[in-house]
């Protein structure tokens, strides 16, 4: 989507219009910049793979669920065997059309694959097909939404229900029936109607547990948490930021709005953070991380958990700064500041999703509900933010918004007066202070490096000239004091020996033989 909006610009390069594959035809943004032919080829490949993956996953999930269900059944098989038989053929039916994919796959998978194949033996196929038309193949659409963690979630759900015995089986049945009915009609429903369906389901299930099974309200809450987790993990992809709403547009608007407000400072919002204190800035970073993390969660409750964690970090940051516990008067501006800094992805979509699909009591009461309300307020405040809400004059606000004035030091600013005043004044942003400090340090380092290089070169030269010098000196000395080998004088002793006492040298005697 974002790609499309970018392309809406006035200046369009000719090359942008052509197919990305370079086949010479014109491309289309809807086909990711490819021409129709290239797109079809590309898409077919990706799609084929996707379908195969989905099926393998759906199948695996189905088996696990049935196995878990069967084990519940096994414990009390006497009364509920009928339910089991009505469920199992359905499962087989849903898998039938995809048996071919499964067969295509190489047999590197072991036992599991073979058992699946058994399901699709020719004898069972005809019967199963008939049923698949009646059953409207419910599980594929459920399975398609499954992600890597869905298996785990449904397994946990089964384990949880096992402990509940009779009500547990009922809950399982209700949830499955609900998911199936919703997957059949979800394409015709708007977001609000979907929300209504889910909320009605929560309400009916809770009422049924209390009315029919006489479950205590505390246990109901526990059960509802699990049910929410199970259902929303399954539904997430189809109901988060659905195409029928303008959530996505709002997300982009908020994102751009927050970008445009990059100049808002702590002082303007009256936030009591002192980011010079390392602990405070640490908490601020953690809060930002948490609020960004919200987008990655699927279950409304987990998303709320992120908001609560973020809020707790904000509270610690305020407490450290002011050395007092914080109140709502400190908290809300701080949260606004964090949201402005974090620019959390798909903020509006997330808020809408939580509002639509969270168990309502959690939003109305309790800590999570409180912090969520604050986040909604922060989002609303940012949307409506004007000069008055920052204690600025309308002119000042305009100048900030148009980028003429800047609360931060920026060397790239083209405005002459601004950059001049900016470099004179101490930059207020701690990051920029740090940046400048680092730059100073770098330039200092580079001068020192140069000095070092010079010194090294000098040392090298010195070393060379030193050897030269030594050589020259040695030569000088050699020249000055040439080596005089004194002529050999025979000592007195030797002469005596030769002339007088020594016997004549031995001469070889020849024996005539």
């Amino acid at each position: 989507m974002s790609r499309r909006t970018e392309r809406r610009g006035i200046h369009v390069d000719q090359s942008d219009l052509l197919c990305k594959k370079g086949c010479g035809y014109y491309g289309n943004a809807a086909w990711q910049g490819l021409c129709s032919k290239c797109w079809r080829e590309e898409y077919q490949q990706v799609r084929q793979k996707q379908i195969q993956d989905d099926w393998a996953l759906a199948e695996k999930l189905q088996r696990e669920e049935e196995a878990a269900y069967a084990s519940i059944q096994g414990a009390q098989s006497q009364s509920h065997s009928a339910a089991a038989t009505s469920q199992q053929p359905q499962a087989h039916a849903s898998l039938t059309p995809f048996s071919k994919f499964e067969e295509k796959k190489t047999n590197e998978k072991t036992r599991k694959v073979t058992t699946v194949k058994k399901f699709f033996s020719p004898s069972s196929r005809t019967a199963a097909k008939k049923e698949s038309q009646e059953g409207k193949t419910p599980s594929p659409s459920i399975g398609r939404d499954a992600g890597f963690d869905t298996d785990q979630v449904s397994k946990d759900f089964m384990d949880f229900l096992k402990n509940l015995q009779k009500p547990g089986r009922d809950i399982h049945k209700q949830c499955r029936a609900f998911l199936i009915s919703l997957s059949n009609k979800k394409h015709d429903l708007g977001a609000d109607e979907l929300s209504e369906c889910v909320q009605d389901f929560y309400q009916n299930l809770a009422d049924r547990l209390i009315g029919h099974f006489k479950v205590s309200s505390e246990s109901v809450e526990q059960v509802m948490d699990q049910v929410e987790k199970y259902i929303m993990t399954r539904l997430y992809k189809s109901v988060f930021c659905p195409e029928t709403t303008d959530d996505e547009k709002k997300d982009l608007a908020t994102q751009n709005r927050i970008r445009a407000l990059h100049w808002v400072t702590i002082q303007m919002l009256c936030v009591s953070f002192d980011e010079e204190i390392p602990e405070v800035s640490e908490n601020v970073v953690k809060a930002i991380t948490d609020i960004i993390e919200m987008d990655s969660k699927r279950v409304p409750r987990d998303k709320l958990g992120c908001i609560t964690r973020c809020s707790k970090h904000i509270f610690s940051a305020i407490r450290i700064t002011k050395k007092e516990p914080a109140s709502a008067d400190d908290f809300l501006p701080a949260l606004i500041y964090i949201v402005l800094k974090a620019n959390p992805p798909r903020l509006q979509s997330n808020i809408q999703y939580i509002t639509r699909f969270c168990i309502p009591s959690r939003l109305m009461t309790g800590e999570d509900g409180y912090y969520f309300t604050n986040l909604c307020c922060a989002a609303a405040f940012i949307e409506k933010l004007d000069a008055q809400s920052l204690n600025l004059s309308p002119e000042e606000f305009e100048r900030y918004m148009s980028g003429q004035a800047s609360s931060r030091f920026s060397s790239s600013n083209g405005d002459v007066t601004d950059s001049a005043s900016g470099s004179d004044a101490m930059p207020s942003n701690p990051v920029l202070v740090q940046l400048n400090r680092n730059l100073d340090m770098l330039s200092d380092l580079s001068t020192r490096q140069e000095a070092l290089n010079e010194a090294a070169a000098k040392l090298q030269a010195d070393l060379l000239s030193w050897t030269e010098n030594v050589k020259r000196e040695v030569n000088d000395i050699l020249e000055r004091y040439p080596l005089q080998v004194p002529s050999r004088t025979v000592s007195a002793i030797d002469t005596n020996n030769i002339e007088n006492n020594l016997p004549p040298p031995l001469t070889p005697e020849v024996f005539a033989g």
């Binding site: 809450e221 509270f315 309790g366």
Partner: protein, 204 residues
């Protein structure tokens, strides 16, 4: 009969520094902190369990930012609240005017919400009568006119504070009784296991 869990949303409204947070702090922790930052003590959300008759209910007390710049958002806070403590400073006429603003808002938007008009900092005027700017009877008349309860409290001495919140609990219970007849206690699904790990103060 602790099996039933009841949550009541109580929202604190009032101008900045009228002492909303001090009120909550005094009620929940039985303390009053003095210092330069008196308007910032306490936490923003607290849950407090109280006993009303035989029942145990949990008050979830929502503190709100009183600054005028967040006025447009205040509706989000009091949505679904069963009780609203609208605070004003007995020594500050402006705060009373602001209080009547919230009263009007609540009256139009939240019919189910019971209003408790609460004059704070009573200890200040106990020392010096001239500091009082809002007459007790004026406030009382106003409260009757809008069908609200009226209290004058001091977070410093704790005067009238427990009474205020106890009254909130009692009013809630009696209104609930009217709405629905007493129901049978439910059966705990997890009786064999220890299932009470949902404490009232931690509902996450």
């Amino acid at each position: 009969m602790s099996g039933m869990r009841v949550d009541v949303k109580v929202v604190m409204l009032g101008k900045e520094s009228v002492g909303k947070t001090s009120l909550v702090e005094r009620y929940v922790h039985h303390r009053f902190l003095v210092g330069p930052y008196q308007n910032t003590i306490g936490a923003a959300f607290v849950a407090k369990q109280i006993q009303v008759g035989e029942k145990c209910i949990t008050l979830g007390i929502w503190d709100t930012a009183g600054s005028e710049r967040y006025e447009a958002m205040s509706r989000m806070y009091y949505r679904g609240a069963r009780a609203a403590v609208v605070c004003y400073d007995l020594t500050d006429k402006r705060s009373f005017e602001r209080a009547s603003f919230w009263v009007k808002e609540l009256k139009t938007n939240e019919e189910l919400c019971q209003i408790y008009l609460c004059g704070t900092k009573k200890d200040l005027i106990a020392n010096d009568r001239h500091l009082r700017q809002i007459d007790y009877h004026d406030a009382q008349d106003f409260a009757e006119e809008i069908g609200a309860q009226h209290f004058e409290t001091s977070s410093k001495t704790g005067n009238n504070i427990d009474e205020l919140f106890q009254k909130i609990g009692e009013d809630y219970m009696s209104s609930e009784m009217e709405l629905m007849p007493a129901e049978e206690p439910g059966v705990d699904l997890n009786q064999k296991k220890n299932s009470y790990f949902y404490s009232c103060c931690l509902s996450n």
